[in-house]
Symmetry: C2
Subunit: 194 residues, 2 copies
């Protein structure tokens, strides 16, 4: 997705060989124009998949998931990393290990909002080691729903998450795939347009 | 806002005399159609106020803030409750005490995204004791920006937050004001239409 790649090149900050900071438009400040375009792009890529529900995880997944939901005409559910006071019963939960933070969070979703008839699209801002996406997949499975696809805004293709998920046979669509972060420069993976 | 009130009456669950659960459309599952209407309503109420930036707090504030930003044509910044690994320098911070959770969180915003020229609209999903809104106001002040208004989706008018904020002379717009939660029934405050 060209608009996104241009934005990453212009405003992304390469903090190290594994960390790209995109807090000026994606995960702290949000650029609504870009976010609308992201939602429309995800919707285009999954429009034939009969999606009935979008599942994401707080906080940075909410904006792209919501914009996709608007175009696809579905509702969004976001998994919580911390339990809500009013969200206590009938929880679907999964453990998600964060390599960067070196901690495990239990994420949770009320089972009122995903059921066995749902065809679920998982959306997240980043894909690195794939732990969050795997946790969301586990929740979809617990609900006996069908995980139809995974939409990622920025995939760090040099980490193993993408391979892990694609090896499961799941359709994974990443709007920008980063091959390398080096010397402050972002190198994108060549896109294979089908 | 009638659509919102109807939704609260139909799908809100009164858990106690102080807790209203709206996780089926506002703060866990999100109804995009309602959220678009909420954004348009906030935009209408603040369209003459020269807003340049919208400030909210993760996670449930993000959706209404983003939808408002799309209509007003501004960017959104969401305050974090937990520090990000890539968000470490130049932070504006405020302490926010949660009465319901009985804990204090430090919320933070990068000072790259609010400056002294900004006219800031604060958006949040709930207003009860007003602690989150006060924390966000403190952050706006630290940035030497101007807090122009506060937009709240659901105000618990029987708690003191609304009075606290309005007594500061700030324009506070709540799309649904709840006067009473009692015996499972939601009573809305009469709206004074100006």
């Amino acid at each position: 997705m060209d608009l996104l790649k241009q934005k990453i090149e212009k405003d992304g900050v390469v903090l190290s060989d594994s960390v790209l900071k995109v807090d000026s438009f994606l995960n702290h400040q949000i650029d609504p124009v870009l976010m609308q375009a992201i939602g429309e792009e995800f919707a285009k890529r999954f429009k034939e998949d009969g999606i009935t529900k979008i599942l994401t995880i707080e906080s940075s997944g909410i904006a792209p998931a919501l914009m996709t939901a608007i175009t696809l005409g579905t509702k969004v559910v976001f998994a919580r990393k911390r339990k809500s006071l009013t969200l206590v019963n009938d929880l679907l939960t999964a453990k998600v290990y964060s390599f960067t933070k070196n901690e495990t969070n239990e994420i949770s979703v009320s089972n009122n909002f995903i059921n066995e008839n749902d065809r679920v699209l998982i959306i997240d801002d980043f894909l690195a080691n794939g732990q969050a996406a795997l946790g969301l997949l586990e929740i979809v499975e617990q609900a006996n729903a069908k995980a139809v696809g995974i939409g990622i805004v920025i995939e760090k293709a040099f980490q193993e998450g993408g391979k892990l998920l694609r090896d499961k046979g799941i359709k994974v669509e990443s709007l920008a795939q980063i091959e390398l972060l080096e010397n402050g420069v972002v190198t994108f993976k060549e896109e294979v347009t089908v």
